[in-house]
């Protein structure tokens, strides 16, 4: 599939997920079980993505000390400050410093 087709397919799918109940199922309710599962979509996918974007072309997870430390510090900053701009800044600094040292 070409890059554009992938993007287009995700775009169409996104529109469907946003419009489904407004356009088609206005009188339907989402079953409780599905509602429960939907709450866990974001954390599960984001947790998976953190690892997935660090997989190299050989199928290995390329996490060394700088990456691991920066992600842990980043998580701590996000938890303490609820500020993701600060998380980005502090995480990148930890990553740069450790990469220069290790």
């Amino acid at each position: 599939m070409s890059a554009f087709l992938v993007t287009l397919a995700v775009g169409v799918g996104s529109y469907v997920s946003r419009s489904l109940f407004i356009l088609a199922l206005a009188r339907k309710r989402i079953p409780d079980r599905v509602l429960v599962a939907l709450q866990f979509v974001a954390p599960a996918v984001l947790g998976s993505l953190v690892i997935a974007v660090l997989i190299d072309s050989e199928g290995q997870v390329s996490i060394g000390v700088p990456e691991a430390a920066a992600l842990v510090v980043g998580a701590a900053v996000a938890y303490r400050t609820k500020n993701h701009i600060l998380t980005l800044v502090v995480g990148m600094i930890v990553y740069w410093v450790l990469r220069a040292l290790v």
């Binding site: 599939m1 890059a3 554009f4 992938v6 993007t7 397919a9 995700v10 775009g11 799918g13 996104s14 529109y15 997920s17 946003r18 419009s19 109940f21 407004i22 356009l23 199922l25 206005a26 339907k28 309710r29 989402i30 429960v36 599962a37 939907l38 709450q39 866990f40 979509v41 974001a42 954390p43 599960a44 996918v45 984001l46 947790g47 998976s48 993505l49 953190v50 690892i51 997935a52 974007v53 660090l54 997989i55 072309s57 199928g59 290995q60 997870v61 920066a70 992600l71 980043g74 998580a75 996000a78 938890y79 993701h84 701009i85 998380t87 980005l88 995480g91 990148m92 990553y95 990469r99």
Partner: protein, 227 residues
């Protein structure tokens, strides 16, 4: 007329502060497009075709890593599934709207637009529509411009800064900000662990397996907690 104008202004003013946290996100997407090596215009077209940061960033980074199309589309759409909740929550308010707006409105239904407009559902239909469009178009225009700016910035940033590491960091930040219960933490941990264990599977299918495992574990824990 003046009432309309006041509603438009309120929509714009309410939307602006919500855009501040999205700004670095848009810049990271622009940088990730450059980093991925895909056609920059195709990468940027996700800004208006998808209009959703997490899904667009996933598409761009996975395209760059050579993942299979079906795996990318499925992963991105799993992320977008949360919009079903927004759609269901706003459906009653949209029933009082003309067809053109019922078709156009959902296109803009991102997290911030839901957050703002779910507070407006008992307003007069015309006020609801005006406020919705004003807040939505504000965020939409800013998003298009900032992702394009990230694209322009990409080639200027030196390679050795390794700014692509901002992508997993941003995902960690978004993850932690949404964690408000232990089943959610478990869902994230299981998702990460299973993705790691299945890392060598072809076409990044491990991402999907990890996500589904995380969702399943979270939902099971939540159900047993409620009993």
């Amino acid at each position: 007329m003046s009432v309309d104008r006041a509603v438009v202004r309120r929509g714009i003013i309410d939307a602006l502060p919500l855009y501040v946290p999205a700004m670095p996100f848009a810049l990271v997407i622009g940088l990730a497009i450059v980093e991925s090596g895909i056609n920059p215009f195709v990468g940027w077209s996700g800004s208006w075709l998808i209009f959703g940061g997490a899904a667009q960033l996933t598409v761009v980074t996975l395209l760059g890593s050579g993942a299979a199309g079906f795996a990318i589309v499925t992963a991105a759409l799993v992320i977008q599934a949360r919009h079903l909740m927004y759609s269901a929550a706003l459906a009653p308010a949209f029933q009082r709207q003309p067809p053109w707006f019922r078709w156009l409105g959902p296109y803009f239904l991102i997290d911030q637009i839901f957050a703002l407009n779910s507070l407006e559902t008992d307003k007069d239909p015309k006020v609801f529509r005006t406020y919705y469009l004003a807040s939505a178009l504000t965020l939409w225009v800013l998003w298009q411009v900032t992702t394009a700016a990230g694209l322009a910035l990409g080639p200027v940033v030196p390679e050795e800064w390794n700014l692509e590491f901002a992508v997993p960091l941003l995902f960690v930040a978004l993850l932690v900000l949404g964690l408000d219960s232990s089943p959610k933490l478990a869902a994230a941990m299981v998702g990460a662990a299973v993705t790691w264990l299945t890392a060598s599977m072809p076409n990044r299918t491990g991402l999907l397996i990890g996500s589904l495992a995380g969702i399943a574990v979270g939902a099971l824990l939540e159900r047993s907690r409620k009993r």
